[in-house]
């Protein structure tokens, strides 16, 4: 009885969210539409964090690494689409490479600077998209394989991922001739599919992002509802018990960690399409921790909750940052909110919503945990 009630509530929540996302273009101007598209991307990051933190019990403090990979792979490809990359002689070369090139260097992508040949396949946008999805998934798979097989868990996973994202950020900045260092990749072209150009401020681009977020949300929701998702939660609760029941715990952790990495990478790719830049700030520690904050505020055990948490915080932040004073104050408020959520709302807004719904329905909240959302 309790469960079917929960189930109705959940379907209602997912349904309203999806409808809201789909009707927003009727209400918002192009400027806000573009912004909201970016926040939906952050919502996708919230889903990735909830999956690995809430369901797998793995607090990845380096999710920005996978986001950044997706972003850079897409941005490299879009950079070469940009008119700014077409040289007077018709050759395709990112502008920053020309500016940074040693005098007399070859004016061709193959050898203008050491390693610049890596850019050659990115002339194909399909390659960029494929890499934006494959690379984060592959890297999270390799990373997950090495840490979970060694049975590293808890805070040590967080430290490794944290160190890794910092390391990657350094290398990214250091590879200035290839990545434009601190400045990141700007002045990008538009994503073009079948001759249609996705202007970041067009409604079509919004729907591209929105549909992707909805699909990811529902697919992930399906994934955690499967038997495999249930077993994943079992490994989170008691890895040894799961092992002695015959489950290869590492395999489950690696699989879902890779899915989480894939989602983060896809988010990075979409972010670049909507925002027209990629920057090393994507790999800042504070960005990765922000994602965790979004998920915690929304509800770490709820995919939809984490998604909404991310969108909500960013919308408020954007509103607050209209004035510089307010934006600084907002940062302080975010710090405070975070402390309060950890102390008083460990299940986030989702937990709060559930408790309220339970009280309205005059049913006591029976579970110490979030039911599957």
């Amino acid at each position: 009885m309790m469960r079917s009630n929960d189930r109705r509530l959940e379907i209602l929540a997912y349904g309203s969210f999806i409808i809201a996302v789909l009707v927003i273009p009727l209400l918002a101007d192009v400027f806000w539409l573009n912004r909201i598209a970016k926040y939906l991307v952050f919502g996708m990051l919230g889903v990735a964090v909830a999956l690995s933190w809430g369901y797998a019990g793995v607090l990845n403090l380096g999710q920005g690494l996978f986001f950044g990979m997706g972003a850079y792979m897409m941005a490299m490809s879009l950079k070469l689409q940009s008119p700014a990359s077409v040289q007077p002689d018709g050759a395709l070369l990112p502008d920053f490479m020309v500016w940074n090139a040693a005098p007399g260097a070859s004016q061709h992508l193959c050898c203008i600077s050491p390693g610049s040949w890596l850019w050659i396949p990115f002339q194909s946008q399909g390659f960029g998209i494929a890499m934006a999805l494959m690379l984060p998934m592959l890297c999270s798979f390799l990373l997950g394989s090495s840490i979970f097989r060694l049975r590293i868990s808890g805070v040590f996973v967080s430290i490794i991922t944290l160190a890794l994202v910092l390391l990657a950020r350094l290398l990214l900045i250091d590879a200035q001739p290839l990545t434009n260092g601190f400045n990141g990749l700007t002045d990008l072209g538009w994503l073009t599919i079948g001759g249609y150009e996705f202007d970041p401020y067009a409604v079509a681009t919004y729907y591209l992002v929105a549909v992707a977020v909805i699909v990811v949300l529902l697919a992930t929701r399906f994934l955690v509802a499967t038997r495999a998702g249930l077993i994943l939660q079992a490994t989170r609760d008691d890895a040894n018990r799961a092992r002695y029941l015959g489950f290869n715990v590492a395999a489950y952790q690696v699989f879902f960690f890779s899915v989480s990495g894939l989602i983060a990478g896809m988010a990075g790719m979409l972010y670049v399409i909507a925002s027209e830049f990629a920057s090393p700030t994507f790999l800042d520690l504070s960005f990765s921790i922000s994602m965790v904050i979004w998920a915690a505020v929304g509800g770490r055990n709820s995919l939809l909750g984490a998604c909404i948490g991310a969108i909500l915080i960013n919308v408020i932040e954007a509103t607050a940052s209209e004035s510089p004073m307010l934006s600084e104050a907002w940062k302080a408020i975010i710090g405070l909110i975070f402390i309060l959520v950890v102390l008083y709302l460990p299940r986030g807004l989702t937990g709060l919503a559930r408790d309220i719904a339970a009280r309205l329905g005059e049913r006591p909240a029976t579970s110490p945990k979030e039911q599957t959302q």
């Binding site: 509802a225 038997r227 079992a234 989170r236 110490p368």
Partner: protein, 249 residues
Amino acid sequence: MTEAALTIDGLGVSFAGFKAVDTFSMVVPQGDVRVLLGANGAGKTTLMDLICGKTRASEGKVFLFDQDITNLQEYRIARAGLARKFQIPSVFRELTVRENLTIACTAMHGVMGNMRLTSTAQEQDRFDQVVETVGVGASLDRIAGALSHGETQWLELGLLMGQGARVILLDEPTAGMTHAETMKTAALIRRMQGTHTLLVVEHDMAFVREIATRITVMHLGRFLAEGTVAQIEQNQQVRDAYLGNGGIR
């Protein structure tokens, strides 16, 4: 003569020079409820750790029926048909009783094989059977973390049954239980006896008399004696080991 379900052959391990289990051998025939006795520090729990793959043995072999399971990964030993219950009850505390048992009754262990929403008929049968045996039908939708100590222990026994193990190791299944709970556990174990072979570590002699078909006694990591409850209670060597200073070395 029934088939040997669990064969331990010269098993040993040492920690920093101390031989916790020392060339220990025994055979448990199928269908037995074998109780492992021994004073504290005799190596009973370590022996179980060696059998189930938690600790790697430095010498000797373990066979589950005909299969050599020595030093395999824990999940491989579990898949071969061996289950282990720890002293501290371990269940999936944030999941419901139903979810706990569903997981245990899952027949396929791989990730891809479990990309499904429903149970197979065979899994459902086993689930129903376990629910009936353990008698948790009324609390299926409760969160496991909210169960009482006794209920948690029984749920864990249910998990072991659900996983379809042929041999089950139980480490002090009645620790911290009231008398009534202990007796319920004994009844549960007797119900399991027909389909499972059990190896039980236990101190409570009243409980041991209830369940044991035979007893094996360990002392300082070695095999000391084996026999029926009556034989062991009469055995002078066992009395010396338990009551004396046990100074064999």
